[in-house]
């Protein structure tokens, strides 16, 4: 997928002025946040499970080569194939080769963020193969020719009025005056539209939430059942997964499953958690004839052993973006690439480079809610700070910010001068603002006062008050 992360500021500006988007984003608080809170209150062990989940992933990452080799061994022993791919291009070519060999005209797709990461749909279309998204949200944004704006609710930015227009425009064989108002109407229409496509598909492509080393299984977690129909009815099942999805055993998956659905949608379990191991067996009555796992690195192996290794624990639940004030204000498209919100602000520069995505780690108020809700205890704000440091060290920060920081550093390392200047500023501002108690505008602080008032200082600096109170004790 082509990135527009470098234009984050313009993207965010457009998003803030998009009334339809703002209305759609309003659903997050009552939906995801409240449901998560309730389901976690009902499980006293939740905090301890977070520790257990973190430990499983840390152990796996420390032995990632070993577990990936065992995973491959077991896929092969069960009649499947693992394709190791270093880059998105290698993954695309691998999938195309499988489709070509099967003479595929259409492929059905379950929801996969890694498929977005490698730009699979555009590539298949360019090669005369029609990809059909089957997750309702993904289906909607495919009709709209848009990327997902959320990793578990890809069409969260779209209102039902917009979807009604899209359905009428694309489903031209249906009565143009049919009712498209209630969520039920849309669900039924999409269900009917997609039914035959599952049966016609030559290849079914899904992502994976986990890869199990113990058994060579791939795992998808869904609520609709579309991923299951995709992999059951396609003649070949292709799983696209990044390599950090592996966990050692079924028991380890059980532990992380207790965290995943609760953190994502506020369910104890998603409706369908499906473990797929190899192609259909000789005695089976249904199932795919081939089973392929396309295992993507795309820079992840290089994150190991760095300050960004912890990001590889991510299980893509979206709790961080569901609780992020920045995401809630601008939505997912503003982030400009596949992964939005706090997890995207760390993962995107790791995968496509700080030059392209340097704005993202800066799109944070450092309120810390993302880390406080992350089921895998990923220190997201800390990693964003690492990126800010790198950005500065490599001279990528904007000139004004660089000059400002230099000036601040000069003062901060000269305490006497710092106190003199801040003391004077506090006295002057305190005197000027005494009557109103606040400033509607201030020189050099237009960015602040443009959207809110600056409270007037009371006349003394924190340093001065601290010294006074200590002396009084």
């Amino acid at each position: 997928m082509q990135s527009t992360s470098h234009s984050f500021k313009q993207n965010a500006h457009h998003a803030l002025n998009d009334a339809t988007l703002q209305r759609a984003l309003g659903n997050i608080k009552t939906g995801f946040q409240e449901k998560r809170r309730q389901v976690i209150e009902a499980l006293p062990e939740f905090e301890s499970l977070r520790d257990a989940g973190r430990d499983i992933k840390n152990h796996t990452l420390a032995n990632l080569d070993f577990y990936l080799e065992r995973f491959e061994e077991n896929v092969v022993a069960n009649g499947g194939v693992v394709h190791w791919c270093r880059t998105p291009a290698e993954a695309r070519e691998t999938i195309l080769a499988i489709c070509r060999r099967r003479n595929a005209k259409t492929v059905t797709k379950g929801k996969s963020m890694v498929a977005e990461e490698i730009g699979l749909n555009q590539f298949l279309e360019a090669n005369a193969i029609e990809p059909i998204e089957t997750d309702l949200g993904e289906y909607i944004i495919q009709l709209r020719n848009e990327p997902p704006s959320h990793i578990i609710a890809p069409a969260i930015h779209v209102t039902r009025e917009q979807i009604a227009d899209d359905f009428r425009r694309h489903h031209t064989e249906l009565d143009p005056n049919r009712r498209l108002e209630e969520p039920r109407d849309f669900t039924d229409e999409a269900r009917a539209q997609l039914r035959d496509r599952y049966f016609q598909a030559d290849v079914g492509i899904t992502g994976a939430n986990f890869l199990i080393a113990e058994t060579g299984s791939t795992v998808i977690v869904t609520n609709e059942g579309n991923g299951d129909m995709t992999q059951l009815l396609g003649k070949a099942h292709v799983v696209v997964a990044s390599l950090e999805k592996v966990v050692p055993t079924l028991d380890d998956a059980a532990t992380i499953l207790r965290l995943l659905a609760r953190s994502a949608t506020g369910q104890e379990m998603s409706v369908y958690t499906t473990f797929s191991t190899g192609p259909r067996r000789a005695e089976d009555l249904d199932g795919p004839e081939e089973f392929h796992v396309v295992l993507l690195d795309n820079g992840r192996s290089a994150m190991l052993g760095t300050e960004f290794q912890d990001m590889l624990r991510c299980i893509r639940c979206a709790a961080c973006m569901n609780h992020c004030p920045v995401y809630a204000a601008v939505g997912g498209h503003a982030y400009g690439w596949v992964y939005p919100g706090p997890m995207g602000a760390v993962l995107t520069p790791s995968l496509i480079g700080i030059e392209e995505a340097g704005h993202l780690p800066n799109a944070s108020t450092f309120c810390g809610r993302c880390e406080s809700v992350c089921p895998m205890r990923i220190p997201l704000p800390k990693m964003m700070r690492h990126y800010r440091t790198r950005e500065f060290e490599r001279g990528l920060a904007p000139p004004k910010a660089k000059a400002g920081l230099k000036l601040w550093a000069f003062l901060a390392t000269r305490p006497a001068l710092y106190r003199l200047l801040t003391g004077a500023a506090a006295r002057v501002l305190g005197a000027l603002g005494r009557r109103a108690g606040r400033f509607k505008s201030l020189p050099l602080a237009g960015g602040w006062t443009g959207v809110r008032d600056m409270p007037a200082p009371e006349g003394k600096t924190f340093h001065a008050l601290w010294a006074e109170r200590r002396a009084a004790r």
Partner: protein, 230 residues
């Protein structure tokens, strides 16, 4: 030129600052995979006896939007299914898993049209057994094999699952233990797992239209569970 596989594994080892694991370290990890240990398991189902587990299961199935019927024996199942179809205003025909062919006697429900096999997508209702029922979360575990095809779990609009009391377990880990022991000693293709293991918690749903939950997105709109005592 080394393969992509070697390069990826090499890159992982370089980042981790070590060579491929060998000797005792690898042996210990292999042992961990051969004899998996359990992590922390919530207390929710600890100490429940058989009937306690069934009560917990029934409660959780309800929370997951399943309808539940409890019967004393397998003999009652066909009659209860016929009554349920009538009550829900559904057509009097269904497709059953071959695994149920010998267990369910449909002779007393002659108005029901019953076929046996997998689904071709045209049936309204399927009837399947389960491999286990996890009372911790109200989750059914179903596996694919010659007599329990996966299509029955997804294609019909209504799915009826028959759970035997002996199949009810506490946490998911207990169901894994049963699955492993059922395949102990197996070799070759399928030695670790069936092609498909489905964990199913309630009927299909979506929240993709403005986060309003709708049942029956692509899979079944209704999941009806019959718990058979004994």
């Amino acid at each position: 030129m080394s393969s992509a596989r070697d390069q990826i594994l090499g890159s992982i080892r370089k980042s981790l600052g070590r060579d491929a694991l060998g000797g005792e370290a690898a042996a210990a990890l292999r042992q961990g995979l051969a004899t998996p240990t359990r992590n922390l398991i919530p207390d929710r189902t600890a100490g429940l006896d058989d009937s306690g587990l069934v009560r917990q299961l029934v409660m959780k199935l309800g929370e997951a939007a399943c309808s539940v019927d409890e019967v004393a024996s397998l003999d009652e199942v066909p009659g209860r299914i016929a009554a349920w179809l009538q009550r829900e205003n559904l057509p009097a025909r269904l497709v059953q898993a071959p695994a149920l062919q010998d267990g369910l006697d449909w002779s007393k429900t002659p108005t029901l049209e019953v076929k046996t096999g997998t689904s071709d997508g045209s049936e309204d209702t399927s009837v399947t057994p389960v491999f286990a029922a996890i009372s911790e979360t109200g989750t059914l575990m179903l596996q694919s094999d010659a007599v329990t095809p996966t299509g029955l779990n997804f294609l019909p609009e209504n799915h009826i699952a028959v759970v035997r009391r002996s199949q009810v377990v506490g946490p998911l880990e207990d169901a894994w233990a049963r699955l492993r022991s059922a395949r102990a000693g197996a070799e070759g293709v399928g030695h670790t797992m069936p092609r498909t293991v489905n964990l199913i918690t309630g009927p299909s749903r979506t929240g993709d239209i403005e986060q309003k939950i709708q049942m029956g997105a692509h899979g079944p709109r209704r999941l009806h569970v019959i718990v058979v005592d004994g």
